[in-house]
C-alpha cells in the first residue's frame, strides 16, 4: 500500500533548519496495523502528516497505491484525503459549535450526499461506536473518551482505506485509553483497513502487528538493523 523511499523533511525554525525526517524508508502493507513509536519531537507526527498527504516531503517518494503523493496536485490530494484517509488526532479536533452527529457529517461533505443520507450514515457511525445517546451533544458536553470516539466515527464514516491516528490516547486516562485502543483494534480487524498509529506509549504500540521506532528522523524496526548512521536505538523505545 505505502512505499516510502529516502524521505527527508525539514522545517525552518528561525534561521535554523531542522530535519524532522532524515532518510526514512518504510513499506506498509495493505491491511497492516503499524505503530510508530518514539520520543516527542522525533518526527512521528511529521511522518503521519506525509502519509496522509497533508504535506509533501522535501526529498524522497511516498507512493500510495501506485501514486506518488509528492507529485499529486492539491486537488487530487484533497480527494484522496476525503476518500481514502481517515484521521484521528490527539486533541480530537472536533468542531466545537457542531454536535457529535454534525461533526461526523463534516467528513461526508466532500461527497455531496443528500442531507438525509449524510445524516443516516453519520448516525450509524456513532451507533457503531456506542454513542447513539450522544448524537445531539456538543463536544463540550462529552467526556474525552466520547469525544475521541466521535473523532473515530468521523474518520471511519466514509470507509477509508487507511486510518491514521496521531497519539489517539495521548489525552486520555488509562481506562479510556484501553477502551479507545480496543475500539480501534476492533475496527481494524472487522473492516480490514490499514491502521497506522503514532504513539509514545509502549503499551499501545505493543497492540500493533509491527512497530517502527522513529528517532532522530530515522526509522528502526524492533527486529531490524538501524540505518547506516550506526547510531544505537534507545532500548526503552524498542518493543
Amino acid at each position: 500500500m505505502y512505499e516510502l523511499t529516502g524521505i527527508r523533511k525539514y522545517f525552518h525554525r528561525g534561521a535554523e533548519t531542522v530535519w524532522a525526517l532524515d532518510g526514512v524508508d518504510l513499506d506498509i502493507a495493505d491491511g497492516e496495523f503499524l505503530a510508530i513509536q518514539g520520543p516527542t519531537g522525533q518526527g512521528k507526527s511529521t511522518l503521519l502528516v506525509l502519509l496522509g498527504g497533508l504535506d509533501r516531503p522535501t526529498e524522497g517518494r511516498i507512493v500510495f497505491d501506485g501514486r506518488d503523493l509528492g507529485r499529486l496536485a492539491e486537488l487530487q490530494l484533497a480527494e484522496l484525503r476525503a476518500a481514502d484517509f481517515g484521521f484521528v488526532f490527539q486533541s480530537f479536533n472536533l468542531i466545537p459549535t457542531l454536535t457529535a452527529q454534525e461533526n461526523v457529517e463534516t467528513a461526508l461533505v466532500p461527497f455531496h450526499l443528500s442531507p438525509d443520507e449524510r445524516r443516516r450514515r453519520a448516525h450509524q457511525a456513532l451507533v457503531d461506536l456506542g454513542l447513539e445517546d450522544r448524537v445531539g451533544h456538543l463536544p463540550s458536553e462529552l467526556s474525552g473518551g466520547q469525544q475521541q470516539r466521535v473523532a473515530i466515527a468521523r474518520a471511519l464514516v466514509k470507509d477509508p482505506k487507511v486510518l491514521l491516528a496521531d497519539e489517539p490516547t495521548g489525552n486520555l486516562d488509562e481506562d479510556t485509553r484501553d477502551e479507545i485502543v480496543g475500539a480501534l483494534e476492533g475496527l481494524w480487524r472487522n473492516r480490514g483497513l490499514t491502521l497506522v498509529l503514532v504513539t509514545h506509549d509502549s503499551w499501545v504500540a505493543r497492540r500493533a502487528e509491527r512497530i517502527a521506532v522513529i528517532k532522530g528522523g530515522r526509522v528502526n524496526y524492533g527486529d531490524a538493523s538501524w540505518p547506516s548512521t550506526g547510531r544505537e536505538p534507545d532500548p526503552e523505545l524498542v518493543a
Binding site: 507526527s45 496522509g52 497533508l54 504535506d55 484525503r81 459549535t97 463534516t106 461533505v109 466532500p110 468521523r154
Partner: protein, 485 residues
C-alpha cells in the same frame, strides 16, 4: 450543514459578530441618512425651482426694466407734488395691478416666435403681477408737507396696505408654465372660453388665509373675480391665477407678457435653445433652470453643500472604517480557527469549500449589519425630517431699477403704518414672494437607497469574508495541525 455551521459559528463569536454588524450598520445607516437628506435637499431645490418656474419649464424669458425707468411710482391722483396733495382727513383707497418691480414687459407675439424655434417643445406667456391695495386717512400732521416721495411717511397717518401675487396664465395646457402641473384640489381648471373671463384659481395656502372657497370672489385690481378652483401649489407660488387675457385687461397691459416659459425638446439642447431664444428676443434675460439652481442661495444652498460635501465624506469614512474593522476581525477570527480549518482540510474539505464557509459567515454578518443599517437609516431620515428646520432659498435678483408701486413709502413707512401690512413691509413682501421660498426639509428614503444599502451590506460582508478567506486559503493543513502538537 453549510447554514448550520455559519449560524453556530456566528453564535459562538456573538460579541465579535455584534461588533462587526454594528460597525456595518452604522456605516450603512449613515449612508442612507445622508442619501435621504441629499434627496430631501434636491427635492427642496426642485420645489423652489418649480414654484418659481413651474413644473416642466426648462427656461424663462424675462425682461428687466432699464435703469431708472422704475423710479418711485405712485397711485394716480396721489403724490407727485405738493399742490395735488390731499387735504388732512382725506380718505384714500386705491388698488393697482402691476408687474413685479424691476420687470418689464415683452410683446405677446414673442411667445409664438419662441415656440416656433427648433428645439422648443412648448412656450407659453404669462404676466407676473402684484395686486396692491392701499387705504387710509391723511392726518393733519402729514398734510401738505414735502413732496410726494417723502411727505406721506410722517407719523400720525394710518394706512392699510395689502398685496398678493397674481399670475396671468395661458389657459390652454401646454405642459409648461407655473400652473400647468398644479393639482386643482377643488373646483375646476379654466375652460377654453375663459381667456378673458373674470374667474380665478387660488392657491390653497392663500385660500386658507383669506377663507376663500370655490364660488367665493376675490378682488383683483378692484374687480371681483369668481373663484372656480383651488390648487395645491408649492411654497413661493403666486396666490391667485387668472386667465392671461383677463390679466392683460386688468393690468392695462394688452398684448404684453412679463415672462415666457419655455420647455426644450430634450435636456441636452437647453443651452443651444437658450442662445437661440436670446437671439430671437433681443434684450431679454434667458434663465435656464440650471442657472437658476446655481443662483439659489440661503440656508437651502448651505444644506446642499453640507449634504454633498460633509455628508459624502462622512459616509465614505464611516463605511471604510466599518469595512476595515469587519475585515480585520474576520481575519483574526480565522487565525484563531487554524486547527479547525486544518482539520477540515485533513478530512478532505477543499480550500474553496472552506473559503465559501468563511465568505458565508462574512456575508451573513453583512446582511445582519445591512438590516440593522436600514433600520438605523430609516430612523435617521425620520429624525432629520422631524428636526430639520425650514430652509429658505433666495434666487439672485436683478432688481437694479429700484422703485415700485410703493416707492413713496419705502423705508420708513412702517413707522406710520398701523395695519399688519406696513407700507415698507408691503414692498419687501412683494420682493420676497417673487424670489424667496421657504421649504421644509424632509429626508425621504427612496427604494434605490435601500437597494444601495443592501448592496453595501453585501459588499461589506464580502470584503470581511474575502479577507478572512484569504487568510484561510493560505493555511497549510499540516501547519495547522502542527500547532497542536
Amino acid at each position: 450543514m453549510y447554514l448550520t455551521y455559519i449560524r453556530r459559528e456566528l453564535r459562538r463569536r456573538s460579541k465579535q459578530a455584534i461588533v462587526v454588524a454594528v460597525g456595518l450598520a452604522i456605516g450603512i445607516g449613515l449612508v442612507m441618512t445622508v442619501s435621504a437628506t441629499s434627496t430631501g435637499v434636491e427635492n427642496a431645490q426642485l420645489q423652489v425651482l418649480h414654484s418659481l418656474y413651474g413644473v416642466g419649464t426648462d427656461m424663462t424669458v424675462t425682461k428687466t426694466a432699464s435703469a431708472g425707468s422704475g423710479g418711485p411710482q405712485h397711485f394716480s391722483g396721489f403724490g407727485g407734488n405738493a399742490e395735488s396733495a390731499p387735504a388732512a382727513g382725506t380718505q384714500i383707497s386705491r388698488n393697482t395691478l402691476r408687474p413685479t418691480p424691476g420687470s418689464a414687459t415683452l410683446p405677446a407675439a414673442d411667445v409664438s416666435k419662441v415656440a416656433s424655434l427648433s428645439g422648443a417643445a412648448a412656450a407659453t406667456g404669462g404676466l407676473v403681477l402684484t395686486d396692491t391695495s392701499f387705504s387710509g386717512t391723511i392726518s393733519s400732521a402729514t398734510s401738505g408737507a414735502g413732496t410726494g416721495a417723502t411727505r406721506s411717511t410722517g407719523a400720525g397717518s394710518s394706512f392699510d396696505i395689502s398685496s398678493f401675487s397674481v399670475d396671468g396664465v395661458q389657459i390652454s395646457k401646454s405642459g409648461v408654465g407655473p400652473l400647468d402641473a398644479a393639482e386643482v384640489a377643488k373646483g375646476s381648471y379654466f375652460s377654453s372660453s375663459d381667456n378673458t373671463a373674470m374667474v380665478a384659481i387660488v392657491s390653497s395656502s392663500y385660500a386658507g388665509q383669506q377663507s376663500l372657497s370655490v364660488g367665493s370672489t376675490v378682488t383683483v385690481a378692484g374687480d371681483s373675480l369668481s373663484v372656480i378652483g383651488i390648487a395645491r401649489m408649492p411654497s413661493g407660488s403666486a396666490d391667485v391665477y387668472i386667465p392671461l387675457g383677463t390679466a392683460q385687461s386688468l393690468a392695462g397691459l394688452s398684448g404684453d407678457v412679463t415672462t415666457i416659459y419655455v420647455s426644450a425638446t430634450s435636456a441636452a439642447n437647453v443651452s443651444s435653445l437658450a442662445a437661440e431664444v436670446q437671439r430671437t428676443v433681443p434684450g431679454a434675460t434667458v434663465s435656464t433652470s440650471a442657472q437658476l439652481a446655481s443662483e439659489v442661495t440661503g440656508s437651502l444652498s448651505s444644506a446642499t453643500s453640507l449634504a454633498t460635501r460633509l455628508g459624502k465624506w462622512l459616509s465614505i469614512a464611516a463605511l471604510a472604517v466599518a469595512f476595515v474593522i469587519a475585515g480585520l476581525l474576520m481575519m483574526a477570527a480565522v487565525s484563531r480557527r487554524v486547527r479547525e480549518f486544518g482539520t477540515l482540510k485533513a478530512i478532505g474539505w477543499r480550500t474553496r469549500r472552506i473559503v465559501a464557509q468563511v465568505m458565508g459567515e462574512g456575508l451573513a454578518l453583512g446582511l445582519v449589519g445591512g438590516v440593522a443599517g436600514i433600520v438605523l437609516g430609516l430612523a435617521g431620515s425620520e429624525i432629520v425630517s422631524l428636526l430639520a428646520p425650514s430652509l429658505s432659498a433666495t434666487v439672485g435678483s436683478s432688481f437694479a431699477t429700484g422703485g415700485g408701486d410703493f416707492g413713496a413709502f419705502g423705508g420708513g413707512g412702517s413707522a406710520g403704518a398701523t395695519s399688519s401690512s406696513p407700507a415698507g413691509g408691503g414692498l419687501a413682501r412683494a420682493f420676497d414672494s417673487a424670489r424667496t421660498v421657504l421649504v421644509h426639509l424632509s429626508a425621504p428614503v427612496q427604494s434605490q437607497t435601500i437597494l444601495v444599502a443592501v448592496c453595501l451590506a453585501v459588499a461589506g460582508g464580502l470584503v470581511a469574508g474575502a479577507l478572512g478567506s484569504w487568510r484561510a486559503s493560505r493555511l497549510r493543513p499540516a501547519a495547522a495541525l502542527r500547532r497542536i502538537e
